[in-house]
Subunit: 331 residues, 2 copies
DNA sequence: ATAGGAACTGTAATCGATTACATGGAGGTG
DNA sequence: CACCTCCATGTAATCGATTACAGTTCCTAT
């Protein structure tokens, strides 16, 4: 791998001139430019980014740090990030923190040690204090999942309202005994539980404690377990709202195992509009988030932080939509 | 963000000494070490990786380049890469190339320009020539999906044999009209088609051209389309083998739409043992690959290339397993 | 007592680029 | 012709670390 020095020698110019050619500096005569480019092509020179980055003090690279890779919804968000990043000529890298605090901190350190120019963080194991402090010093924004009270730019949907809407859809088709499968560890899920409660309250329905089932994983197994618990109650629910499609798919599977067809005796509602909600039979009603727009906005917010670090962080809420399918009655 | 120079001044030592302390060089007296560490903690110093990387000529960072993020199977593979990388103290970054040649080349350039120390490539749009050349110069290995004839280390399963086994399982339960949904653009799928044909041949069955359906996507929609085509044939198949679970799920969905229950009149077999194959009803028989082991081995192969670039690339095939579920008859 | 070596520390070169500043020549103007 | 400007190019400083080499001190063995 040749260096700029070797190129300079071969082209019989100084390294400065080579650098100018490569960085489109106008102060180069057409002939020298030609000659340099010729040599560059001939020896197959590519600038060493380690040198460039050190001098420029940046990398033109950002990191998207997500909790887990096997998340269809997030892959849509990342598509949004990628296409917005392309506009700004930023390279996008992804890493998974797996809800491991140490791993997360290891990746966040890339801000300190300048390995990346900024980070888009999806969820976090850090607290509001730590996040606010970090975001105050470095370009850091949150996306889809954020932390209550943290002074960090963020983008997502209005989770409380979305859950409220979903539950109202169930109420509208006559359901009265609506259960919820949630996860109090995640802020977005807590908000959804609040929306669920508000909808019940507004409809004048009591909200029974035993209708709120907790699970710390968004897996279909957890959904199955939750469903079995709910259906074993003295007064089983006639609708189940889960905070993710995979949970909802598990709920449906457990119902089917018991001979109950989702959408008939019991309605099921999911969240995120993933492929799974479309593929399973019956298909699952769900809340759709504008994934690509969320990702694109996250990048814009990050850019804002990079260009104007002094400005205040802001929260952007984008509109959600209900997608009604066979797992819930409707007309 | 303080630099090593400022730390040195504050600790009243030279930058060399600070560097020695930070890099566990034994030639430092306990007192100075103490003092330096004190200052480091106090000012919150973190070494700037851009400087370190330039000097050391490496980044201790590798890239896993995959075609798409929304792939449950690959996320397991990456878990395997991550845990093996942890042992070697390498940081793992992931990027998606989306089958876009330009995007792929942009990421591969990170080898040339030293942004990463090595790349694990899952599939590629490059040809054997280009890949061989690249892998000859830089640490590059392929994983799960590789390219015929490329002189590159790779790890995966024996796709031909796996398909052979899957089709034999269908034959064993009495199926005779077995169709296949494949993708001739992908080498692993071509191998699977070969295994399918070999199984039919060995069973003395003709392989009908119209039973081999092509699709260039691994989506459930493509699976549905393929299934509708197959079932519209004058002599529809009594079993359908798809090269991915998502395709298989689409096949099942289309069957159900026609009132046919997978596993009764028509068997369905998928590939990869993803969550989806378990969640859908009926659950789908599939081929399971040792994902984490594949990922771990990919990292070991990459490490081999990094440490001993002169040694010949090698191909590692790991064992697969059939997972029989409700979508296929069996006893 | 002195040579030799070990232990500790500092000076300065180095990695590969970018870029501020200096320089020299061409061309224009009064 | 003298002077100024502008363009093209080169020289050298710089980014922030690591590390080869050199120097100093002090201990030990003869």
């Amino acid at each position: 791998m040749p260096t700029i020095k070797e190129v300079a020698k071969a082209a019989q110019v100084s390294v400065a001139t080579v650098s100018r050619v490569l960085n489109q500096d106008k102060n180069v005569s057409p002939q020298t430019r030609q000659k340099v480019l010729e040599v560059v092509r001939q020896v197959g020179y590519t600038p060493n980014m380690l040198g460039r980055n050190l001098r420029r003090k940046n990398t033109e690279r950002i990191l998207v740090l997500i909790p887990s890779l096997s998340n269809q919804f997030l892959s849509g968000v990342i598509r949004g990030v990628e296409s917005a990043a392309k506009q700004k000529e930023l390279q996008v890298m992804i890493s998974a923190a797996h809800n491991d605090r140490e791993a997360e901190q290891g990746y966040l350190e890339m801000l300190y040690n300048r390995s990346v120019d900024g980070i888009i963080l999806v969820g976090s194991t850090l607290d509001q204090e730590e996040l606010s402090q970090l975001a105050g010093q470095y370009p850091l924004v949150m996306c889809s999942e954020w932390v209550e009270g943290a002074n960090v730019s963020a983008v997502g949907i209005d989770n409380e309202q979305a859950a409220f809407d979903a539950v109202n859809a169930l109420l509208a088709s006559g359901r009265k005994k609506i259960a919820m499968v949630s996860n109090e560890e995640v802020y977005s899920a807590r908000l959804r539980t609040q929306g669920y409660r508000r909808a019940l309250e507004q409809a004048g329905l009591p909200h029974k404690r035993e209708y709120e089932v907790e699970h710390y994983e968004y897996t279909y197994r957890a959904g199955m377990r939750a469903c079995r618990m709910l259906m074993a109650l003295p007064e089983p629910p006639d609708a189940i709202f889960a905070v993710s499609d995979e949970l909802a798919a598990g709920v449906c599977k457990a119902l089917i195992e018991q001979g109950i067809i989702p959408g008939r005796e019991v309605d099921v509602f999911g969240f995120d509009n993933t492929t799974m909600s479309k593929v399973v039979t019956p298909s699952i009603s769900t809340v759709s988030q504008p994934r690509k727009r969320i990702g694109g906005t996250a990048l814009e917010l990050l850019w804002e932080r990079m260009e104007h670090p002094e400005e205040k962080p802001r929260l952007v809420l984008l509109p959600h939509e209900l997608v009604l399918r066979d797992s819930s009655q409707h007309r």
